[in-house]
């Protein structure tokens, strides 16, 4: 496998301009002859599909939900970054670039990140033109706030519903193209395989989730924008349908899967409260702007709270340990997510945790309410507070919130080069599905930025560079042997699942996988644990293929069958994550190996050995994958120990 990152020549700040100046383009008449398949309608997929349609390509766009507007991007709360420097607080493209590389613990490709920072401002302009109602100041100009890992205010937001508003903007642009006839939309349709012809991605096999029928679709190029795979953990902040299946299919067709172990644990989620729990709810990171995180200073207070004998409001100020402010005075409550998550775990493991389970810390708005008044806090976070109250049945204006870390985002994903092309020619990956810009840890408010950058401003250029050589490739009908074979293979997989007729529900096995992932491949990992995880996951795989029970048939809608086919792929992802985590003998970003920490318990990178992206190549069913390295070089950023003190 060859990993050619195709980084353009020239100084960092000129690479993207150079690329655009020299790339190949497709003229309007030829665009009409070219078909592009876009899988996914989240920020990355919808923005790409809409832009391709506007440019004149023929687009087929797929989503598993009933409407493009339901993609998981809708749930993002906090905001989106850009280097506008409207607040005049010293921000710049260079600083956003630098913060992102540093925040990612020096495991991202500089050139991609620089381009991301460059196009960030265009995104805000685009969204405003679409009618995204970002928050504004009384003077009528856009308001900004700050997010973890940054010392400037560069985050644009729309109440606590930024993802919703950005996605609706992209969705509306997409529906305009559907109306114009440039985009064919397939809702409740799942891509179950990628079709290869002569070594290139040339289409997909889809399954209509309403009828159960299989379909063959041709495209001169295929873009995967299918989101992240955090649901391998069963419990995560992701939507119930978020999955890694398309990524796994790509991997099995020869696309490298990079840094699978880089998963982000978000520090501020509502703690787990029962076995019936189906997902974890995020409390936006923006809350850390005004909320202060603490646990009791005295163990006996923590114990009394856990036993229900003491309330947090009864603990005097001097008996509270604002541990983030104590350990990281420069960034305080706004340290990056990985740092905040581990600090919470450290306090809880040491016996200072609160809540019935002891696996929770407080996020307190008392000082902010005293300082700004309850109305100001309500205006900023009203919907989040309401959400908390509905779930927990507790009033966060009066009692501090309880939070605990949870799996949230996957930095790892399909390896892509500078053009967002995978190692399979003609197969591109965008948004959370690719591995590109966040290294080992993503900063808050930069996933929305990346998804829209990929879809609006990167792929519309880079895909032309590929398609320019394809203008004389005629459309295929879908009746070619490669398509028929791929369909038969996909059908056989579904039939195999239905034929198992075992005794256990899909969810019960998924929960088992999730526990193994959380215990051994979660917030703190070590060699023995990871080795055990690999064995346990193999056992779960065996159990799944011999004992899963899927009622009903392959005809018509069958939700259990959908879940089973996704779980089959989560099992593969779980295995990959554990292998990658085992091989990476260092701590960096979201990947914390207990063996590699400083005396103060901070993550310790091993730059001499691991300054690379670990890219896994599939070797066949039940064979161990092979790892290749994309070495990372840093021309501009000075690699240093991250320091938020």
């Amino acid at each position: 496998m060859k990993l050619d990152s195709k980084i353009p020549q020239g100084p960092m700040a000129e690479k993207w301009s150079n690329y655009k100046a020299n790339q190949k383009l497709v003229n309007p008449a030829n665009k009409r002859k070219l078909d592009i398949i876009v899988v996914g309608t989240g920020l990355a997929g919808a923005s790409a599909a809409a832009s391709f349609g506007e440019m004149g390509f023929n687009v087929k766009n797929f989503t598993i939900q009933d409407s493009p507007r339901r993609a998981h991007s809708i749930a993002a709360q906090g905001g989106i970054n850009a280097a506008k420097n409207y607040p005049n607080d010293g921000d710049s493209i260079h600083r956003l670039f630098y913060d992102t590389v540093k925040g990612g613990d020096y495991r991202a490709r500089e050139a991609n990140v620089h381009r991301l920072a460059e196009v960030s401002n265009d995104i805000i302009d685009q969204c405003v033109a679409q009618g995204v109602p970002f928050a504004r100041e009384y003077g009528g100009l856009l308001d900004n706030r700050s997010f973890g890992g940054a010392q400037v205010s560069r985050t644009f937001y729309a109440k606590g519903q930024t993802g919703q508003q950005l996605l609706i903007g992209a969705y509306q642009a997409l529906m305009r193209q559907v109306n114009a006839g440039t985009v064919d939309l397939y809702t409740r349709t799942e891509i179950v395989d990628i079709v290869m012809v002569d070594g290139k991605a040339r289409g997909v096999i889809a399954r209509d989730l309403v009828t159960g029928e299989f379909q063959r679709h041709f495209g001169h190029a295929v873009v995967l924008a299918t989101g992240g795979y955090g649901n391998a953990f069963f419990l995560s902040t992701n939507a119930m349908g978020s999955n890694g299946s398309a990524a796994i299919k790509a991997y099995q067709k020869g696309a490298a899967f990079a840094n699978p172990c880089f998963a982000q644990i978000h520090p501020t989620c509502i703690p787990v409260h029962g076995e019936f729990q189906s997902k974890l709810t995020l409390m936006s990171e923006s809350l850390r702007n005004d909320g202060r995180i603490w646990v009791p200073k005295k163990k006996e207070d923590a114990e009394a709270i856990r036993a229900g004998k003491l309330k947090p409001t009864q603990i005097a100020e001097e008996n509270r340990d604002y541990y983030l402010e104590r350990r990281y005075p420069a960034f305080g409550n706004l340290v990056p997510r990985d740092v905040a998550s581990r600090a919470a775990k450290e306090r809880c493991d040491a016996g200072f945790g609160v809540g019935a389970t002891g696996l929770a810390v407080y996020l307190d708005f008392k000082s902010a309410i005293e300082r700004l008044g309850e109305d100001a806090i309500r205006a900023r976070y009203g919907n989040l507070f309401q959400m908390y109250e509905k779930i927990v049945d507790d009033n966060p204006y009066e009692t501090p919130m309880m939070i605990y870390p949870a799996i949230h985002y996957t930095m790892g994903g399909i390896w892509v080069d500078y053009e967002l092309q995978t190692t399979v020619p003609g197969l591109f990956a965008a948004g959370e599905a690719n591995f590109s810009d966040h290294g080992a840890n993503r900063l808050g408010a930069s996933a929305l930025m990346q998804g829209l950058a990929d879809g609006y401003f990167v792929l519309p250029y880079t895909i032309q560079n590929y398609l320019a050589d394809d203008i004389s490739t005629p459309r295929m009908t879908g009746d070619e042997k490669e398509f028929v074979d791929a369909e038969n293979e996909a059908k056989a997989k579904f039939e195999k699942l239905l034929a198992i007729k075992g005794n256990r529900s899909v969810d019960s096995i998924h929960k088992e996988l999730g526990l193994v992932m959380w215990d051994f491949v979660g917030m703190a990992r070590k060699k023995e644990g990871l080795e055990q995880a690999i064995e346990k996951i193999a056992a779960i795989k065996k159990e799944f293929y011999s004992n899963v029970r899927i009622p009903g048939s392959g005809e018509g809608m069958n939700v259990e069958l959908e879940k089973a086919s996704r779980l089959a792929d989560f099992i593969e992802i779980g295995d990959l994550m554990a292998r990658d985590a085992l091989h990476r003998e260092e701590s960096c970003g979201g990947h914390f190996r207990e063996e590699y920490q400083t005396e103060e318990g901070e993550a310790q990178r091993q730059d001499d050995k691991f300054t690379y992206a670990g890219c896994w190549e599939y070797q066949g069913e039940d064979k161990a994958p092979v790892m290749h390295k994309e070495e990372l070089t840093f021309e501009v950023v000075k690699v240093a120990q991250r320091n938020y003190k």
Binding site: I74, A129, R136, G140, Q277, Q386, F457, S508
Partner: protein, 251 residues
């Protein structure tokens, strides 16, 4: 405080769009009042699967009240007995031990049943495609701060834009009208200078599409506003009517 309750569920089962549906009755024991309504449905489905039966199909995704995918008519109310929440945010503490809960799909000519509790809401996308956007393409737009927008307008636009497209307004309306949904989009865009340019044309095209798709007329009963989980106000309908009139006058 957390409690366990027992429930009788009367659930609408329907195998496919063309099949006849019926209610089935199920018993559930020891449901934690801390669980959400959809987690209760998960428990029911786990029980059905373990007994060798087909689980109940229902729509859901984010389970945070934002994607608009969950639906359900619970004891005669869309999204159930709590106010300002979607079904996924409804918690079992709103129900009593021993209670019988009736669970049905949205019932409206515009939203045909696909299976059990799942309905087809594609009509909403078709209405948006008819004009629910600003006609700008990617690139070549002015700086985001080029046009100041009064904060009150931006905030009001945001309130209208918070519609999640769930369809509760249609489901609760005796006429099956989609006016609240349409007016939320027309208002959101008409309130902003970027969307104002096409406001009248947009209103006309979206309303025409809504009529064409078989949604009923609005007779101002206000039921939609009461059931909207996002508090979208019927004052948006007045704004829609104004834009619609403007379009008629321009014709």
């Amino acid at each position: 405080m957390e409690n366990n309750i027992s429930l009788t569920l009367k659930v609408w089962r329907q195998n496919g769009p063309k099949e006849k549906g019926r209610f089935e009755t199920y018993k559930l024991e020891k449901v934690s009042t801390d669980s959400s309504f959809l987690e209760m449905m998960d428990i029911l489905n786990e029980q059905l699967i373990n007994d060798g039966n087909e689980p109940v199909a229902f729509d859901h995704d984010c389970r945070e009240g934002i994607c608009g995918m969950c639906s359900l008519y619970i004891n005669g109310r869309p999204h159930g007995p709590d106010d300002d929440v979607t079904t996924c945010q409804l918690h079992m503490r709103k129900f009593k031990d021993g209670e019988t809960i009736t669970i049905e799909p949205w019932r409206s000519a515009g939203f045909p049943v696909i299976k059990d509790l799942i309905v087809n809401r594609n009509a909403f996308d078709t209405i948006i495609a008819a004009g629910g956007y600003t006609s700008v393409s990617t690139g070549g737009v002015p700086d985001a701060n080029a046009i100041p927008i009064p904060k009150v307008d931006a905030d009001e636009a945001m309130d209208a834009a918070s519609c999640i497209g769930c369809g509760a307004c249609v489901a609760t309306c005796k006429n099956g009208s989609a006016m609240l949904f349409v007016s939320a989009k027309v208002s959101h865009l008409a309130l902003l200078p970027q969307g104002k340019v096409e406001a009248a044309r947009r209103a006309k095209n979206m309303v025409a599409k809504m009529d064409e798709l078989g949604f009923g007329n609005c007779t101002n009963t206000g039921a939609c506003e009461v059931e909207c989980p996002k508090g979208v106000s019927i004052s948006n309908i007045a704004r829609l009517n104004r834009e619609f009139l403007k379009a008629k006058l321009q014709d």
